[in-house]
Symmetry: C2
Subunit: 325 residues, 2 copies
Amino acid sequence: MREQDLSLNRLFEEERPRIQRALEEAVGLLPAPVREIGAYVLLAGGKRLRPLMTLVSARLLGCNAPDLYRLCAVPEMIHAASLLHDDILDEADTRRGRVSAHTRFGLRPALLAGDAMLALADCEVTVFERADMVECVSDAMMRTVAGEAHEIALQGSLSHGEEEYIDMVTGKTGWLLRASCRLGALYAGAEARLVSALSDFGLYAGIAFQIVDDALDFADASVTGKPCGGDLREGKFTPPLMHYVGGLNERERAAFGEKFATGSFSEEEVARIAAIIRERGYDRATRSLADGYLRRAETCLAMLPETPERNVLREVIPFIRNREK
Amino acid sequence: MREQDLSLNRLFEEERPRIQRALEEAVGLLPAPVREIGAYVLLAGGKRLRPLMTLVSARLLGCNAPDLYRLCAVPEMIHAASLLHDDILDEADTRRGRVSAHTRFGLRPALLAGDAMLALADCEVTVFERADMVECVSDAMMRTVAGEAHEIALQGSLSHGEEEYIDMVTGKTGWLLRASCRLGALYAGAEARLVSALSDFGLYAGIAFQIVDDALDFADASVTGKPCGGDLREGKFTPPLMHYVGGLNERERAAFGEKFATGSFSEEEVARIAAIIRERGYDRATRSLADGYLRRAETCLAMLPETPERNVLREVIPFIRNREK
């Protein structure tokens, strides 16, 4: 690693302790009865991509106030709360190789811990006394929930295409990564076109991130460490499955549709379909769909000042593109 | 009814259609997949006490902008979202004599509809571009969740007393009624001491409201229309039960504690304990506890201008005190 370069990985490593401390402080502000759950889901690790985007966005625009760490905990809290409620919705027993929070602490405390993290995210951004930052967070929460609700409405159905899928992931994942970047840019007090460029960068990166995530759902479990084909089991019609279904004849498609609607694929069927998706390169084709959004994200970067932080954001693009788990 | 008087009941009737319209407009802003659930819980009726408090508070301080109706939908959305999540937490099959939302629409859509209403409440107050109003809503959400989490932490235990109970209901119910009044006062641009007086009025009224609610839990089901003794079944140690347990000997208390912790009272036992609570006047004694807070609420009113709206707020006190269902 060259000394003068600011690399994404180095930044991840360097900033992790300070981001962790900011998250610990946030956990300390949660109501006592849900604090342990907050710590369980918020301090467990993870890529910390959202806090890092907030930090880098602000610094790119010349702001490096110490309060930035407090700010960057905000999108991570919303992210953690949404995973927590997601796991309740999906009845998921595990998350990142650990027992899920609601399985460990019970449904009721877990649901409330999620509500508390959302409320705390609100309170924490309010501290900055900036209407535009508050609006950014409220909008992101609303769009994220709307995306999740959209996903549930589509579940089990094969009748939607790529366009509606993109619309859904824009809400579910795009808006919060957008907010992560936008919060940093707004806090830096940058002019509107720079704030827009960073917001759009975050939005497109977020969409691409989710598309790649959905490609990875059919990757080899021995590489990802996650069970393969969860989306197939849960009736989530993602691009790899759209490709797969596109290759079926009418009769096969009807049989597939029935099992998809009822979530009744056997483990053998899931494994067989995942193998076909990999063999036929449908996961690679899905990554190509992500490429289109990553190119748009790159275009946004061209509008920003040439700084070491801009290079870090440029590295986010292959990081998302080539992620193997 | 005298013509020159502004009575609470007349106001309820007069304002109901406009409050309803504001709530309908809010429902229209929810994500499409959860809109039906939002309508189900938000447009079903109810006392509309929170919106009315916002309206009356603003008018009392000389503000009657048409936007007030939009504002007064905010606390009602938070209230409805918290009932929705509550019913999921309590596995309640019914609410106000109807099938509960999660029973009708499913757990996942209902949970997300609650999240969406909270996010929308945030967005809707942000529209007013007033940092103090945004802070008021964030604080209220946080304190409400904290109160709910506190309640769950206390569940099944007999080891806390009146003081901790009051602390819990202050969060669970007090802060949102406080916010309902405070939002109106802030929007009116009133000076700080008037905003404080109205906020405190709302807080004390809210605490009293919950205490009376907990007394009503042991009232005759034929009067309230709700099943009697729910708190006993759910292990919620409220003032009527504190009085009841205070009258037991050590052996009886241990036996009660065991069933209370495990929620294993038979229907006959619940009916018998409720009858004793009524016979011995423990529900009346509980209303006396509420009286202390209602007196404090009344003291706050003395600091406010003498207007017809102040008289309406004065009527809220016996309304809370004498409620029979």
